[in-house]
């Protein structure tokens, strides 16, 4: 019971810290800051649990496996939230269409209206800009050149895609 409580409280504390910070100022490198907040909360939380005073108060952890248990839960929640956060940070086109059509209710939307909604934000250009920003590719003399990082990403997705019989994305 104690392990469960500590694990949930640490994750909640990390989320609340992130929420307060975001309300004040949204950082430029959002994912990196999120990972830093969650990791720091985990390390400091476990350090506090190892103190004699925490043990005396009934919040001490008894053995290394309990530390690992809290760590696994916290890391799983951190990664899950970071993945979910990517949908907050950058709305997906499909979700944008769904919400916009739902908002129209019984009137619906014409195909042209939906097309215009997405075309305004130049999906391809956005993707290319994001790939350059994330250093997956570099733009050299009007050519997009794959970087070592980009090559690694392609290999991982290609390999797993083949394993699960997936067609090319897009």
């Amino acid at each position: 019971m104690k392990v469960t409580l500590i694990a949930f409280l640490l994750t909640l504390f990390a989320f609340v810290t992130h929420w307060i910070l975001w309300r004040i100022h949204v950082p430029r490198r959002q994912t990196l800051v999120l990972l830093t907040i969650f990791s720091l909360v985990l390390v400091s939380g476990l350090a506090v649990c190892s103190l004699g005073s925490a043990e005396a108060a009934g919040w001490g952890l008894d053995d290394p496996w309990q530390y690992l248990h809290v760590g696994i839960f916290h890391t799983a929640m951190m990664l899950g939230y970071v993945v979910a956060y990517s949908a907050i940070e950058e709305k997906s086109p499909s979700m944008t269409i769904l919400l916009w059509v739902a908002k129209a209710g019984h009137e619906g939307r014409s195909r042209d209206e939906v097309e215009m909604l997405l075309l305004e934000s130049s999906p391809i250009e956005n993707r290319l800009t994001a790939m350059v920003r994330d250093r997956m590719v570099v733009l050299r003399e009007e050519q997009y050149v794959l970087t070592a990082k980009g090559r690694k990403w392609v290999s991982v997705f290609h390999w797993w895609g083949r394993l699960i019989n997936a067609e090319k994305g897009g």
Partner: protein
């Protein structure tokens, strides 16, 4: 708490994730390309069964009280579901990511490709139409007399949840922060 079974309880979310991945590969290879998401859901359920079973067996062996059993099953199941969500997102990128597709195209062309050529291969209009068609064929939108209507679907519920989460996290800045597809009713 005796330690003999506790490491298995601790590692059960990770073991269940490994089972999920293996089961997904097996189901996807057996069923081919028919309904890739169905294979993911089936594998996720197998993994959930594994995490609950391992935790339950471990707790029984350790003769833990009922409240500890319930709390550990809850803790491990939540951790496993978070890990499964990561795996689902990874597979979803394999299946639908435009960015991954473009990177593969560049690699296929020998590691570099002109922006102009990429523009020909992936023009905005055809990509947009592909999204709309996919939503219609998936039953998320209904096309009637040349107009698109919303259809209550699980995906719409997810989109609504993320829209709410975005507002909750970002607050009033929600429409101005972030990148990409930031379009509101007012600026269309």
């Amino acid at each position: 708490m005796p330690l003999s079974w506790y490491p298995i309880i601790v590692l059960s979310p990770v073991l269940a994730l490994a089972t999920n991945c293996a089961a997904h590969v097996a189901v996807a290879r057996i069923s081919g390309n028919s309904g890739p998401y169905r294979a993911i859901v089936r594998a996720a359920i197998v993994g959930l069964g594994v995490v609950v079973a391992l935790t339950l067996i471990g707790c029984r062996r350790l003769a833990l009280p009922r409240h500890d059993v319930v709390s550990l099953i809850f803790l491990n199941s939540v951790a496993y579901l978070a890990l499964s969500f990561d795996y689902f997102s990874f597979v979803n990128l394999c299946l639908t990511s435009l960015r991954i597709r473009m990177l593969r195209e560049i690699q296929g062309a020998g590691g570099s490709l002109a922006g102009e050529r990429l523009g020909e291969l992936y023009d905005d209009r055809s990509m947009t139409n592909l999204r709309i068609d996919r939503l219609v064929s998936g039953g998320h939108l209904v096309l009637r007399e040349e107009r698109l209507y919303s259809h209550k679907s699980f995906f719409l519920a997810i989109a609504t949840f993320f829209d709410w989460l975005r507002w909750f996290v970002m607050g009033p800045k929600a429409d101005h922060q972030g990148r990409g597809w930031q379009r509101t009713e007012s600026n269309i």
